[in-house]
Every structure is written in C-alpha cells, then in structure tokens.
C-alpha cells in the first residue's frame, strides 16, 4: 500500500532536476561573472519548491543580469529597462496562480526602475524579486550606479562620483516591503536557501544579491567574500538566534538603547545579545543601517539573511476577491444588460 501511494505522489509531482531548468540558449556573460553562480543556485533551488516548470515565469528588465530569463527553461520575458516590476505586477494580478520571479540589476531596479520597485513593494503581490547588485552598470560598460560608493571613478565620473548611494534595503523597507533579505553570489548555500525562502513568503519578497562584476567592478564585495575578512565583516541573521560573528564567533551585536554596538562575547558573555526577530520592523530598520564602509574602523558587520518578514494580504488576492465578489453579487456579466444600460426607449 505504502509503495503504491508514494508512486501516486510521484506521478502527481514529477520530480524536476536542476538541469530541467536549463534552457537551450548559450550563456553570454563574461567569464567569472557572479551571475553564473546565481543562475546555478536558482536552477538548483527551483526543483525544491515543487512548482511545475510551466507555472513559473521569469520577468527581467535590461542589463547583464536581466538576460537571466533566457537561460531558464520556464516562461520568461526580457522586457525593457526598469520595467520588469511593472510587467510582473500586471502578470501576477492577471494570473495569481503563477510563480512569478523578477530579475533586475541595481541600475534596472534602483535607477530607472525605482518607482515601480517601491510601488510593487507597497502593493505586495506575491512575487520574488532578485536584485543583482554589482554596484555598476555592466551592460553599458561601466558607469556608476545608484549603489556605487561615493567617489567612484567610472567612465561617466572621471573625477569620482558625487552621488550619495542608496541603501537598497532601507529604501525597500521604507517603501513598505514585506520581505527584505540579502545574499551573495559567493555564498551559494545561503543563496539557495534564501531563494527558497523568497518563494515561501506570500507577498513581494526582495532579495538583494551582492554580485561581483569582474570586468567593471571587480572585488566590490571582497570584504564579505574574502577568506581573511569575511567572518569579521558579515553576520548571518537567523530568526530567534543572537547576532554573533567573527572567525571564532567571538563577537556579538547588542542594542544600546536603539543603537547597535559590537561586543566581545569572550569578554562580556552572551547576555543581552540582540536576538534576531524577523517580524520586528523597527529592528529590521536598524539592521539595514549596518551599512558602513568595511574600510572604516570601529564599524559593524554587514548582515545577510532575512531582515524582515511580515504577513500582509497580497494585491492579486484582493483584486481577485473583488472580481469574485462582484460576480457573486451581480452574477457573471450579462452582455445584453451591459449594452442596454438602465435607460432605454423604443422607436418604432
């Protein structure tokens, strides 16, 4: 009996492999580009979420990262610069049952596409937004982006950029996002887990992924990925767990009033350490402020993982509910009645 049942289940849910998500198109990123690692983790995460291939859609804007959909053997659209969020918002509203993924870059999402990003976050349709942040415009060959650091010398800023960069997660939280998280290309395990978490969250999930662009901005995130520094410069957030880090996990983060400080656990013990609560929006905000320059002294580590998660109704559900309600109330649309309206007269 048991065997039969498990077979039935298998039949119902044919197990997909990572390679089922590989499309037939040649990949056209530069050698060494961080996008490869993200693609790989996406292809290995999707079989685990148990959604049928044909029910998955990837929508992207324009940029190196935005070529991603071509490499996924699902439905996909490579739209126009900055508008993936808007296209996906329409698709999801029209087809709530589809698993909808948005692929976007720091320029695509935060420069030209900034408005659609903050609006999708407030409306909260159930989409997963992968924001590939390489702190540069890759496709147009190396201009600074809204996340590039101050003073950055690029083709368009030969004397250094004077634009104060965005803190992307702070922008997204401020806009009313219900799921805010950060990952990086060079930590594939955490990346895959977080990809799966974005799927699980019902609502707009924003996953910022630090992505290295070896051609135009190599090493932008080396403090967080280099062996020597990464343990000291990163802290992984786990709901219910204290914020500890360091190569021997010897440091912790505490709140002094509303301000985070680093303490040495070996000296001060674990008491009073900040216990991560991913449902606390104010604390999530404080976490987004752990954003200083790793080069600066006395600074705090950069958090990775889920900063914030909130349950809020999804846009497409509310929209569908209004349609369903209208149908219940007034019945399925009657075309004759629509055409005639309420005031008619007869000429004969």
């Amino acid at each position: 009996m048991m065997e039969v049942k498990s077979q039935e289940e298998k039949a119902k849910k044919p197990e997909l492999k990572a390679r089922d998500f590989v499309s037939d198109q040649d990949i056209k990123w530069c050698p060494g580009c961080g996008d490869y690692a993200i693609l790989k983790q996406m292809q290995s995460a999707l079989p685990e979420i148990g959604v049928k291939k044909e029910d998955i859609v990837f929508v992207s804007g324009i940029g190196c990262s935005s070529r991603f959909p071509y490499y996924m053997n699902t439905f996909g659209m490579h739209s126009i610069h900055g508008r993936a969020t808007a296209v996906a918002a329409g698709l999801k509203a029209a087809r709530p049952e589809l698993s909808t993924w948005i692929i976007t870059g720091d320029g695509d999402a935060l420069s030209i596409g900034g408005n659609h990003l903050i609006h999708i976050l407030r409306r909260n349709p159930d989409v997963n937004i992968m924001l590939f942040n390489n702190q540069i415009y890759g496709l147009t060959k190396g201009q600074y982006s809204p996340t590039s650091e101050l003073g950055k010398v690029t083709k368009s800023t030969p004397s250094g950029s004077i634009d104060h960069p965005f803190n992307p997660l702070s922008v997204c939280l401020g806009a009313g996002g219900t799921f805010i998280a950060r990952a990086m290309d060079r930590d594939p395990k955490a990346l895959k887990e977080l990809i799966i978490e974005t799927h699980k969250h019902k609502g707009s999930s924003l996953l910022e992924i630090y992505q290295n662009c070896p051609i135009f901005n190599d090493g932008a995130f080396s403090a967080f990925t280099d062996k020597e520094t990464k343990k000291k410069e990163t802290v992984y957030l786990k709901h219910g767990q204290p914020l500890i880090f360091g190569d021997k996990l010897q440091y912790g983060v505490k709140l002094d009033g509303v301000h985070p400080i680093v303490v040495n656990i070996e000296e001060e013990g674990q008491d009073g350490l900040w216990i991560h609560d991913e449902t606390d929006k104010i604390k999530a905000y404080i976490l987004t402020q752990l954003f200083d320059d790793p080069e600066a002294g006395g600074h705090l580590p950069r958090p990775f993982g889920i900063f914030y998660k909130e349950e809020r109704f999804c846009y497409e559900d509310a929209m569908q509910a209004q349609v369903d309600h209208a149908r219940e109330q007034k019945g399925d649309g009657d075309l004759e009645a629509l055409l005639s309206g309420n005031n008619t007269w007869i000429v004969d």
Binding site: F75, I80, A89, A93, A94, H116, D332, L339, I346, V347
Partner: protein, 611 residues
C-alpha cells in the same frame, strides 16, 4: 397668451458657475429629450480648474445640447437658447448665441459682485443693444427658488442648491417636455435624504409652472420626435461607449480584460467605467504612472488577458517605449488615446486631433501599429470593438484615437444585441502541438501563436531584442533583422485585406469634391456635406476609421474626385499621409482652437470650391 412654435431642431447652451449644477441639468434635459424621441448630440465644456473662483469667466461650466426631429450629428454650432446662470456665463457665451436667440438669465447672478467678477462695467441686462439683438427672459431664479422652499425647513445653502431645478423646470415647460423622468431620478438619487428630493422636485415644478403662469413669454416650442431607425435606444457618452466596447469584446472573445492605466483628463472615465464591471472578469489597475500602466497590461497580455490602457497625449508620450516592446512581443493590446489640446500639458479640458502622428510614429525604430479612430460618441463602441478583434486575432497592439469632444459628448445609440456582435476568435496554441511549438511561428496572416504561462511544454522566452524568424530567439543577424522588419510591417498592411472597403458616407463617387475626415470631425462634416448636397452641390463625405492600414480602395475612391479637402483639428496630419501615399494635391482645413469644427466652418470651406 403664449403660442406654440414648431421647430425642426434647437440648440440650447446652459452656462453657469461650476458649482451651479450645470452638468446635471444638462444630462437630465438630455435624458428626457432622448426618451421623448428626438435625435440629439451634447457637449459639455468644463473649466480646467476643479472649481475656479465663483463668478469668474474661468469658472464658467457649459453644457450644449442640440436636438431635433431630424437626424442630428453635432451639438450644434451657434445656440438658439442661452441659459446664463450669472454674468460671467453670459459674457463668455454670448458670441455662441444666434442673432435674435433667446437668453434666459438669472437676474440675481447679475448683482454688483457678479458683474465685477465677470469684468462687466455696466449691467448688460440694461443694455438696449442686448435687448434689441436677442430675446431676453429675465427671472430671479434665486429668489423664486428660495420662495418656493420658504417652508421647507432647509437652510439657505441647501435651498440655493436647488436653483438649477427651477431652470430645468422652466425649459421643460418651454419645450413641452414631461417632468416625470427627472422626478424619478431625484427620488432615486436622494433616496436617503427625502427632504432634499422633495425640495428639488418642488423647485422643478415651480420652474415649470412659472412658465405657465407668467405671461411674459411670447411662445413655447415644439420639437417633435425624430423619425429614427426602429429599435431600442439608449443615450451614451464616448468614454462610456469605449469602456462597454472593451468589455463586450472580451466577453465575446472569452478573454479576461486587464486594464492598466493612470488617470488623466479626458481619458479617466474609461477607467472609472471599467472599474464598475468587475463581474465581467475585468481587472482594473490604477498604476503609479503611464509607463506602469502599459507595462502591467503587457504582463497581463503575456498571461493571456486582453491588455488595455488608455490615456491622453502626455501620457501616451510616456508609453512610446513600451509600445515598441509590445510590437516586438506581438501581444494583443489596445491603447486608447483620448486626445486633448497640446502640445505639452496644453489645454487639458479641450479637444484636438493632434496626436495622429504620435500614434503613427511616436516610437523608436520601425514600429508599425494599426490605428483606428472613432467618429462619434456611439462610434467609440464599434471602433474599439473592432480594435479588440484586430488585436486578438492578429496578435498586435492596436491604437484607438478618440478625443475630448466625443469622449464627453453624448448621443442616442441604437445599441446592438449581444448576439449580433461579430465573433472574435481567440486562438491559443493547441496542447498537442507542444512538440513543434515555435513561439514566432506564423499563420497566413503572419499572426504568431499565443502560448501562455501554465501551458505545459510551451515554455519560452520573449523580449525586446530582435527575434530570430520562427524560433523567437535573440538574433543579431543582419538579414534576419530585415526579414523581421518586413514581417512586422507586412502583418499590419495585410489587415487591409480584412477591414471594410470605404465608400462615401454622404454623396456619390466620382465627383468634384471629396471631404475626407477622420475621427470626431464626423458630425460637423456630415452636417455640412448633407446640407450642401441638399442645396445641389456635387460634394461627398468620406470618413476614415482605419488610419493604418487604410482601406484598400481609398486611393481609387479619392482619385475619383477632382479635389480632396481634409478638415482636421490639428495643423495638418492626415493630409500629409494622403499626399505622400497617393501624391494627390489634397488641401487641408486646419483648426487648432481647442474646439470642434462648427458645421458652418466646413460648409464655408466647401463652398469656396464652387464659387
């Protein structure tokens, strides 16, 4: 004793402060007149401000209705009756009244304050010239209204709000119309405030009986019902017809309707109307801007809905880039431009036809798109219905042009039965064809296949980069690009095989002069041409719905005339297309004043060919 005068047609212009309830008065008179059996056409004229300062000229709101016992195609050029609720209303509109026309004025709207705000140095009602040139009917509407309600227990503000009903009652009497429709309307509207309903009805009747009682009015008028085609009629505004047409087409096609748009005058009412029809599986999305408006519809169309967006000039400008994407993706989209005065913010509440070239060319690259234009309020239905059919059956975005004049104008509509509407066939791919599926495979009309997410085995990716023939993969190949450019162009051109051939709307083929129009100039041209044909002139009216592609026989038709005259509410746009295509020396009649043509202006232009 008042006598009764028989008239064939009448134009009334109601004018007053934005707060005076002019639009409501107008629409009640329209409804009653329609039910009475006249043919009619109306046009409201709002100020650009929400409520411009009371009493000023900028604050005047107008409503013009033209009705008659024969066919009516425009809201009328000059009016026979001008109802002026205050001095500013008179000042602004006097030149739109015929010589010897009737002025009905509310004398309490001509006090010192009102005269100053209207920038009158003297009270015009005391001006002998005015009394000589026009028939003046002075009524102290405010006082009458207050008197009528002296025992109602209502406060002075609430009482004064009933003023418009006095005027409505009076003109009902003047034109011998029944009050019952409005009485019912008021009962229904103020269901929850019966005392207000009662007060309004009381004032309405007071106005009616005022006419009966005072003997100052020399004559009342009779405009008998028009001999209209048999059938059931309703009154309809252009934007409403547009919305209903969209819903009807989607229902017929069996597709959900997704509307993504951003409010803008004068297109917003399409969104407002659609939002009321959710039970037709209509989803409306008020987007953050026009770009998101069209992009959400592209997403929805990819998902298997008919995507619709509507805007006006400035908003359409913002959609250009995304239209290009839709053309590349070959997805069914309907884009409606309710044109207004331009350029830039221009004259937002005024009408114009100056976005034709924007529709043709307002995108980067070679990006051909079918364009249809609606000719009148009711024609918005048929035009948008055809646009939906073309979009769905040919997998393409389609542009529909309307304008502020027909969007807000109204006329009686012999609406069709649902069953009589043309079928729209939606062709999704067939499950069994998954093996050989080519996202850019095409049929004989060059229409590509439609496979939507959720269809197993049809997973594919599309985008805005040039696509390879058939496979739809990205291709940078030179010859392939040329092929695809040709296909996209040919696909639109081939629609000329399907759309109706053109023939004169009035007049005959092979003549001296053809007046070629498009869009909302229909009524004015028709009125002018019909009139002149009756006068014996050899002139014809040809009206284009299909701007791109044009009807196959258009060249032949146009070349059957010695002359072609093209009136447009722009600086000359269609005319350029005609000259270029057919190398005929067509002449234009251009007017860019924010107002529609008066039939008389067209008449005059035509006559110049015969003198």
């Amino acid at each position: 004793m008042t006598t009764k005068e028989q008239l064939d047609q009448v134009t009334i212009l109601l004018a007053g402060d934005s707060g005076d309830g002019i639009q409501l008065t107008g629409s009640q008179f329209t409804q009653t007149t329609a039910l009475f059996g006249n043919d009619l056409s109306t046009f409201p004229d709002f100020p650009a401000e929400i409520r411009a300062p009371m009493g000023t000229i900028a604050g005047v709101s107008g409503f013009q209705i033209h009705f008659g016992s024969s066919e009516i195609y425009t809201p009328g050029d000059l009016s026979d009756v001008l109802v002026a609720f205050n001095a500013a209303a008179l000042k602004k509109n006097l030149d739109r009244l015929k010589d010897r026309g009737i002025i009905i004025c509310n004398t309490s709207g001509f006090d010192k304050r009102n005269l100053r705000l209207a920038q009158y140095e003297e009270n015009p009602l005391l001006d002998d010239k005015l009394r000589e040139n026009y028939q003046l009917i002075e009524i102290d509407v405010t006082k009458m209204t207050r008197d009528a309600l002296s025992e109602s227990g209502l406060g002075p503000k609430d009482r004064d709000r009933c003023k418009n009903m006095f005027v409505l009652g009076f003109i009902y009497w003047l034109f011998g119309r029944p009050m019952q429709g409005t009485v019912d309307f008021l009962d229904n509207k103020f269901k929850r405030k019966p005392e207000i309903a009662e007060a309004n009805i009381k004032v309405l009747k007071a106005g009616y009986y005022y006419g009966d009682t005072v003997e100052a009015i020399p004559s009342t008028f009779e405009v008998s019902p028009a001999k209209m085609q048999r059938g059931t009629y309703r009154n309809i505004m252009g934007n409403q017809a547009m919305a209903i047409g969209l819903v009807a087409a989607c229902k017929k096609a069996g597709l959900p309707l997704f509307f993504g748009g951003y409010p803008i005058t004068p297109a917003s009412d399409i969104l407002h109307e659609l939002a009321k029809h959710k039970n037709f599986n209509v989803k409306t999305f008020q987007a953050e801007d026009e770009i998101a408006g069209i992009c959400t519809t592209i997403g929805a169309a990819f998902g298997g809905s008919l995507g619709v967006t509507a805007s006006s000039g400035p908003g359409i400008a913002l959609k250009g880039e995304a239209m290009g994407l839709a053309i590349m993706l070959e997805l069914p989209l309907v884009i409606i431009n309710v044109q207004r005065g331009g350029p830039s913010t221009g004259l937002p509440t005024k009408t114009e036809q100056s976005d034709l070239f924007q529709a043709m060319y307002g995108r980067n690259g070679e990006a051909p798109m079918p364009i249809l234009a609606a000719a009148s309020p009711k024609d918005c239905f048929a035009t948008v219905y055809e646009a939906c059919k073309l979009a769905i059956e040919h997998m393409t975005p389609v542009m529909v042009l309307s304008d502020g004049y027909i969007a807000n104008g109204a006329e009686p509509w012999r609406f069709p039965e649902a069953s009589s509407l043309e079928e729209i066939s939606t062709k999704f791919v067939d499950e069994k064809d998954a093996e050989d599926f080519k996202p850019y495979g095409r049929d004989e009309n060059l229409v590509r296949q439609w496979a939507t997410p959720g269809m197993k085995g049809f997973e594919h990716r599309i985008g805005g980069l040039e696509k390879e023939l058939e496979s739809g993969n990205v291709s940078y190949d030179a010859k392939n690009h040329q092929t695809m450019i040709n296909i996209r162009s040919e696909k639109v051109n081939k629609m000329a095989n399907i759309i109706a051939k053109i023939s004169p709307d009035s007049g005959e083929l092979n003549g001296k002069l053809a007046v070629l129009g498009w869009g909302s100039t229909y009524g004015a041209i028709k009125t002018a041409v019909k009139g002149l044909i009756l006068e014996g002139l050899d002139v014809a009216h040809i009206h284009l719905r299909h701007i791109h592609p044009m009807p196959k026989n258009l060249e032949e038709v146009l070349k059957s005339y010695d002359h072609v005259l093209i009136p447009e509410l722009n600086d000359g746009q269609l005319i350029k297309m005609i000259r270029e295509k057919f190398l005929i020396d067509a002449k234009g009649l251009s007017k860019v004043e924010g107002n529609p043509f008066a039939a008389g202006e067209i008449t005059e232009a035509i006559k110049s060919y015969y003198s």
